[in-house]
Symmetry: C2
Subunit: 519 residues, 2 copies
């Protein structure tokens, strides 16, 4: 694709302006704290004037509909710091007619498509991603529990402590700075997910408070919508000695520290907000889970945890919590299953668990990349959706191998096809591409508690969008090859199956341009 | 990734130089024929002087080994028109020492890596790809037999006849030219697969002789190694009336016409060669299959066909050929199962069929992208390999959704993980990444009858290679994010899981540079 080249330096430049260059200075978590005042300025750095977006808008207003509006105009008002869709107009034949159709001044700034093969699509919502594992994308070893020990815990701990096995063989003249590493990793995971069109992430961070607060700061600064979860890992038996909360009390205090930091950073909670994150039952204790459930209720906060990912993990939970009927019941007993809960994976969820999750109104993050890569199995998405459970998609980086939610849209279809075949060619189990796109946008909005505010282009929604640019009709090979005879429904399919970050030409969160490859 | 930008225009420019621009002229198949003299010149257009390649060479000499040679030099001699590895030298610390280590003049031209994060890898071998279906990548409808009728046959036929349903709603001032469409499609499929690092393709073309010959001409001109198969479709009941051979006799005559054209184009058969292609049993008749088996024996030609892809297809074959014990036996009865045979898919292959295929020495093209996308199932790769069957990988564009063999390396691992889980967590069924890379290179070489000549960097092999360039260690997001602390084994894994065409900086076939994104 020639019309669009990558321009990743812009946001990084912002980062280095605020934080200064790390070389030759002692980067400490306190420093990140001090910079917060500047970050708040950066986060509201978008235009406060209304904006018009004009062009082809494609979305999935319901699971079976791919809506294609070729000549639509959207008015985004940003005067309260949140870019909200104030009005829409369809069948506007020329961009110069958009202002009149929307009833605003013709001097209103207008954003038009990058090329004739560009379209606007709702930003993707990644309902499950581990920010500190970003450097491990593509590194696998066995199934879940082996992989956690070999790759995951060493990497996560390396963002806050020299006790991490990552530093065991370290040689050099001065000791490494784990927080400098945290800053590098978190800068990149945000830049990368934005570059792939992901406007909202439900992040798991680490157990460490300063590093987790830094993730919140960076998301806020770069303008990515983010739920920020400090992982609770207070179980002294299960977790490695180099990476665990010192005690339940310490875990709860750390949880409060992150909540307070994130809520001070964004009191509205619209852009970044804390999420209670008991990593998974084996990493926690009854005491921490109960305390976290109480905090969630007291502060009306969302919760997120893993559930039923791997058969050995399910057996481990049954062994550790023999007093509970199921994995889901274990969480429910501590008040952690609410209508603001994100349950990741749910591959081996039983009928009883499905009923319980549905009754509590909790959502599920379907992570097909990860579930295939770690050999976990195929989640029963249709069954959960039929039971009324909200389902979104998650990359689960780095159990998943890609920061791309679109890759998980593809895999959601592919594994559903395999499941359909296995279950006697039961085609009702297939998740068609349109529905997979719905899960990645509207479904995700429900799962992260933003139903009606994210996932589409309806009046009143926040304007979180990505502009997709396909190859041209001319005879050149591109990321998504278009010959020119394809209708737009087929072009969308070609994007889904061949698209990558190169096709995401621009990204907006709340009307603010947060990523651009347009030169 | 900043160091490498796409430069797809070079080869296309060559194409238009040889053929002239299509606009405003009557492009006919005869014209393609006439141009053949020029093409032969183009195909030997590489340097006839020896070349040294110096840098990091990574390959899979056996299924369980990822060989990483950080400082290797390879001498490629091209004086016979075939670029063959004449000598190798390891542990050459500097490029300026390479000539001496290889025993050649220090004035020998040397190719060095594009960046510090570049490496050479054997070119991928796509053992199953439908060139005329390239425009349909990502377009699906149901399972195999429905999809053939809705998307595949209309597109294939549109490359040679106005009877194609693709032209049913055509409106315009002058009629479309199917051969102009064929030229566009075939130019792109070759450029695209080269751009993804695929140096050899076993192509299915269409039933049409001039269009199929054109595919051979273009592959020869662009320098992609290719097996060219005219699909035999003489069954008057099964095939659509707008797209079938008129009779068995016509099918056999057309087969001969393509064989003669391709063998005249490249008498050595090293770069392009014909392959006998009875599409699949339902599309053929006993008569045509027998005749094709005889031609394969008489001319010592390879054969390729589909087998056991879909359960409805298997049932159809059993119904159409009740006198045969199995799908494989149907081919075998006509002399089509030889040690030069490529069987695509083999998802539902029985133990008896595995034994028969192994006894005949036939190879299998594993097409995991396609088998998942069409809901066909998961092929028993481990079982077939344990039985001694050579297995390679195939994109099966456009049953598969990607021209990338690397995507099929990923999917080969992913579906094997799912199969392992389904079969009682039998980890012996997993195809590890190194083995999947082996299947895409060395395995593919066996399947296309080039064992010992392709797939690696051993002395005597043809130099078919791709240079992979990863992101830099600097703080910028790229297609494959490298932080700098990763060892090379991990970097290769990151490439496998995150890489796309952007990472393929240069591609050589027989020592000739055939694709480059280096500016």
């Amino acid at each position: 694709m020639k019309a669009v080249t990558r321009l990743p330096a812009l946001l990084l430049l912002m980062g280095s302006t605020v934080y200064g260059h790390p070389q030759g200075r002692d980067y400490s978590p306190q420093h990140a704290h001090e910079a917060r005042g500047s970050l708040a300025v950066a986060a509201t750095n978008g235009s406060s004037n209304p904006l018009i977006f004009y062009g082809r808008f494609i979305s999935t207003p319901d699971p079976s509909t791919l809506s294609i509006q070729p000549n639509m105009a959207i008015l985004v008002t940003t005067n309260d710091g949140r870019g909200v869709i104030a009005a829409t107009a369809q069948n506007v034949s020329r961009p110069e007619d958009a202002a009149a159709a929307l009833g605003v001044s013709t001097s209103t700034q207008i954003i038009t498509p990058t090329t004739d093969n560009s379209f606007f699509f709702p930003g993707f919502i990644d309902t499950h991603i581990h920010a500190p594992q970003y450097p491990n994308l593509g590194l696998f070893a066995g199934t879940l529990l082996d992989w956690l020990q070999k790759y995951t815990f060493p990497m996560e701990s390396s963002l806050s402590t020299l006790k991490s096995p990552q530093y065991a063989n370290w040689t050099g003249s001065s000791p490494p700075n784990p927080y400098e590493r945290a800053r590098r990793v978190y800068n990149r995971v945000i830049d990368s997910t934005l570059s792939f069109g992901t406007t909202t992430c439900a992040y798991y961070a680490t157990i460490d408070v300063p590093a987790t607060n830094l993730l919140a700061d960076l998301a806020y600064q770069k303008g990515q919508r983010a739920l920020i979860g400090r992982t609770c890992m207070d179980n002294q038996q299960y977790n490695p000695d180099y990476y665990r909360d010192e005690s339940t009390e310490a875990a709860i205090n750390a949880t409060w520290a992150v909540i307070n930091h994130v809520q001070a950073l964004d009191p509205s909670g619209d852009l970044v907000a804390p999420i209670i994150t008991p990593r998974f039952a084996p990493a926690c204790t009854n005491e921490s889970m109960s305390a976290l459930g109480k905090i969630a209720a007291e502060k009306n906060l969302p919760t997120q945890m893993h559930i039923d990912e791997n058969v050995r993990e399910v057996a481990l939970v049954a062994q550790m919590y023999p007093e509970q009927d199921s994995y889901a019941a274990t969480y429910d007993a501590h008040g952690l299953l609410t209508n603001r809960t994100i349950l990741a994976h749910a591959v081996h969820v039983t009928d009883a668990e499905i009923a319980l999750i549905a009754a509590r109104g909790s959502g599920v993050s379907h992570c097909p990349d990860s579930n295939s890569a770690l050999g976990s199995g195929i989640a029963p998405v249709r069954k959960m959706r039929d039971a009324g459970i909200a389902v979104g998609l998650g990359t689960d980086a780095a159990g998943g191998f890609s920061p791309s939610l679109l890759d998980n849209v593809r895999q959601a279809f592919l594994v559903s096809q395999l499941l359909s075949f296995q279950e006697g060619q039961n085609s009702s189990l297939i998740i068609p591409v349109a529905e997979a796109l719905y899960l990645g946008t509207m479904g995700g909005a429900k799962v992260v508690g933003m139903e009606g505010r994210l996932g589409g282009f309806q009046k009143g929604m926040l304007f979180d969008a990505q502009e997709i640019t396909l190859g041209s009709d001319a005879d050149e090979v591109g990321d998504v090859d278009i010959f020119g005879w394809e209708n737009w429904s087929d072009r969308v399919m070609k994007w889904v199956w061949g698209g990558n970050a190169d096709n995401v030409s621009r990204v907006w969160v709340g009307g603010r341009l947060v990523s651009s490859k347009v030169v």
